[in-house]
Amino acid sequence: MTEDDPTRVPRAKNGRAPDVLRVGGWVPMRCFADDEQVDFVIVGTGAGGGTLSCKLSEYGFSVVALDVGPYWRPLEDFASDEHEQYKLYWTDERISGGEDALELGRNNSGQSVGGSMVHFAMVSLRFRPEWFKSRSLLGYGVDWPVDWREMWGYYREVEENLCLAGPIKYPWGPPRPRYPYRPHELNAAAKVLARGCEKLGIKWCSTPIATLSAPRGLAHPCVYRGFCIAGCSTNAKQSAINTWLPRALKAGAEIRDLAMVGRVELDANGRVRGVHYHREGQWRFQRARNVVVAGYAIETPRLLLNSACPQAPDGLANSSGLVGKYLMAHCNQGVYGVFDDEIRWYKAPPSLSLTEHWNYTDEGKDFDGGYAYMSQGPLPVEWSGTQTGNHKLWGESLLRDMERYNHYAGLKIVGECQAMETNTVRLADEKDRFGLPIANVTFAHSDNDKKLIAHAKNFMRTALEAAGGYDIWAEETETAHLMGTCRMGDDPRSSVVNPDGRTWDVPNLWICDGSLFPTSGGVNPSLTIQAMACRIADRIKALAARAEV
């Protein structure tokens, strides 16, 4: 391999970091010594950690953000190839079991500077306001310790940072300002969804999506190449790697790539001292006044559990016993059908249209919660996985059906999943390449999830039929996204972190990622993760002003 292999040799060091917007480019980076006590060490640079790194450094705190993943320059490092782009995913071993075992890796876990957003599908939706108080207002789940109006402002901040392209008027929920950029042209796959909705008389709209419909600075607009979840080599996709992190660097944060945090260390008083991390072949220790864990819903609890020590024998911040519990995913069943028309769903971002009808309608449901559904556009390897997995095809029947690729269209839900204490992340005996115990994940759907899935599959089948589809079939098991495992709440007995994102047990240990979610909502999570990160940054700033950080 060449010398500049970002998977082997760190790029962000010696006072510079890669310029993600220029081939071979660099930007200056402030660097801190390991024994310098920085204000914040942030573990993970994805939707949560990347956003927080930016906000905290812009507020004047000294920040070192560590990520085990490589620091890519999308323009030069991303091939138009699903197989090659596995390099973006978390492919270190994890064990995944339970009745409805989750697919991890490509399906929901990234390992790059920029986190899972590097390969996310860019769908950026706000929570329905009532979901922040679903227990009080809708009678299921638990309440978030935050008010939706406060989140509404932070959503806006994120939408502007990502320059979302979205409809002029969003058909559901309370009014919101116009999206910064205009919606994209719909591809045929998105029009299938539209047709179905029009026939069934429900609203639909073009998806608010984090890819540019017009130029922005050095970033090009979308070229509709459709490789989004294999990474966007155009830089049209707006995510942590090309929005929050460049801002963070400019504001003086240091980002360390290929840096795996193995343990957060407590001092004798039960306060965090810093983190042990592995980089360039050796274990190092970075001192810090505060540590924020933002490794996503599996790695965050894993790190806390792996950091068990005499002061915290069950793992850090785990006096409630809830670290690693209430793991959630989204129900993500797809329904697929064949059309006489050529659809060619490999073109353009996969989910250009959607309906949130069943998120905002409470009548006619035999289940709690809601779901959105969106148009689809899987590429060949992913599609073959669906065909061999859920459709159970192989041999001649597989090849023949794969030949109908350009005539397929599909609809897929993002369905609210009920949090269950029995869905967990624990430690396995097996060790990873750093000698750290790997995660053992257990997941099963609740009865309510199953009812929601049945309802959704039924409805989408009708919608596809109405749009002219035939030979329709539905996926049995499929999930997306990860949430929970360090839930936020008002009560130290029933939650891991307080409403500020601070762990109840350790005053200078914070969590800022998808693992905070007490409930999952029926929309993709990253907009909410980023909005929450902005909110936590503001809380930290306010607390610091009162000398409480």
């Binding site: 719909l186 047709r195 029009e198 017009a214 130029p215 922005r216 070229v223």
Partner: protein, 309 residues
């Protein structure tokens, strides 16, 4: 010295004109007579404007309809008609004679008619899509404003022939109306319509570059100046309006430059021309303003009277 026409007179004159009364006195009286050479010159200027409009339409409609895979036979019409209009206009621009030319006239009338039909087609295309007359369809279905430039090329062309037909020493008129006023009004409306189309497309592009505001701010001012010239009865010099028309003329060319740059700054730049020329900013569109700027200048010449007066 002329007396200022009272609004009521002007209205009556307009009604007369619309009723086909060729000798509508109030309107005609307010414009200076021109010599044979002058009317031919003004007509040639108009033809030049039409030529630019027609070539803009030719390039733009060929590109856009190629993008639409010429799905419908009717999609060949605008490139063909605008080619004819371009030929007619070039012919007119180099023709010093003071007589209208029947074939040019017919071609211009044909392009105006084709453009009117084009509006219908485009409107139908927007409406039939899922979602109907919504923003998304106005952005991405057949562009409503696109036939506008062809319509302008056609009508301005017909007007040019009428102006050319002016008797030496007579007052140029078009179907009974004073030609200067009518052209100023037409150009003003043409500018506003074009601005509407540009606004829609630049709004689609989220006005991501501040320069994108220029074509939706400068031309409306010009349109206003021209409109006020059309409504005023005094054949006086209008340096500001003249300046503004020149500005609009240059703006069209500058816009083309910006769009060429815009194609370059899309993914892959000019190497990826086969995508970026179609998906990037339309290079041939902005010169419509140049065509209209020239038409505005022609109108001013009629309104202001001969240069050396």
């Amino acid at each position: 010295m002329r007396t200022r026409a009272r609004p009521a007179d002007r209205l009556r004159a307009l009604q007369d004109a619309l009723a086909g009364n060729a000798r509508s006195p109030a309107l005609l009286r307010s414009e200076p007579p021109v010599g044979a050479q002058e009317s031919a010159d003004v007509a040639r200027l108009l033809n030049a404007g039409c030529a630019i409009l027609a070539s803009s339409v030719l390039a733009d409609s060929s590109m856009e309809h190629y993008r639409g895979s010429f799905e419908n036979k009717a999609m060949f019409v605008p490139p063909i008609v605008s080619t004819l209009a371009l030929i007619a206009s070039l012919h007119g621009a180099s023709d010093r004679s003071a007589r209208a030319e029947r074939r040019r006239d017919a071609i211009y009338a044909l392009s105006a008619a084709a453009a009117a039909a084009g509006f219908g087609f485009h409107l139908y295309n927007v409406g039939k899509r899922d979602g109907g007359f919504c923003w998304e369809n106005f952005f991405y279905a057949a562009p409503i404003g696109a036939p506008w430039a062809l319509l302008l090329s056609g009508t301005l062309g017909v007007a040019a022939e009428r102006v050319r037909d002016t008797r030496p020493g007579g007052i140029p008129h078009i179907f009974g109306m004073a030609a200067g006023r009518l052209l100023a009004g037409l150009t003003s409306a043409g500018l506003l319509g074009t601005v509407g189309e540009v606004w829609l497309l630049h709004f689609r592009g989220a006005f991501q570059d501040p320069f994108m505001y220029l074509p939706v701010t400068l031309p409306p001012v010009g349109a206003g100046l021209l409109a006020s010239a059309a409504l005023s009865s005094k054949p006086k010099k209008r340096p500001l309006t003249r300046f503004w028309m020149k500005l609009v003329t240059v703006l069209g060319l500058a816009g083309m430059g910006f769009h060429i740059y815009g194609v370059h700054r899309n993914m892959g730049g000019w190497r990826n021309w086969s995508q970026n020329v179609l998906n990037g900013p339309p290079i041939p569109a902005p010169p419509s303003f140049t065509g209209l700027g020239l038409a505005g200048l022609a109108a001013l010449r009629l309104l202001e009277g001969p240069k050396n007066e």
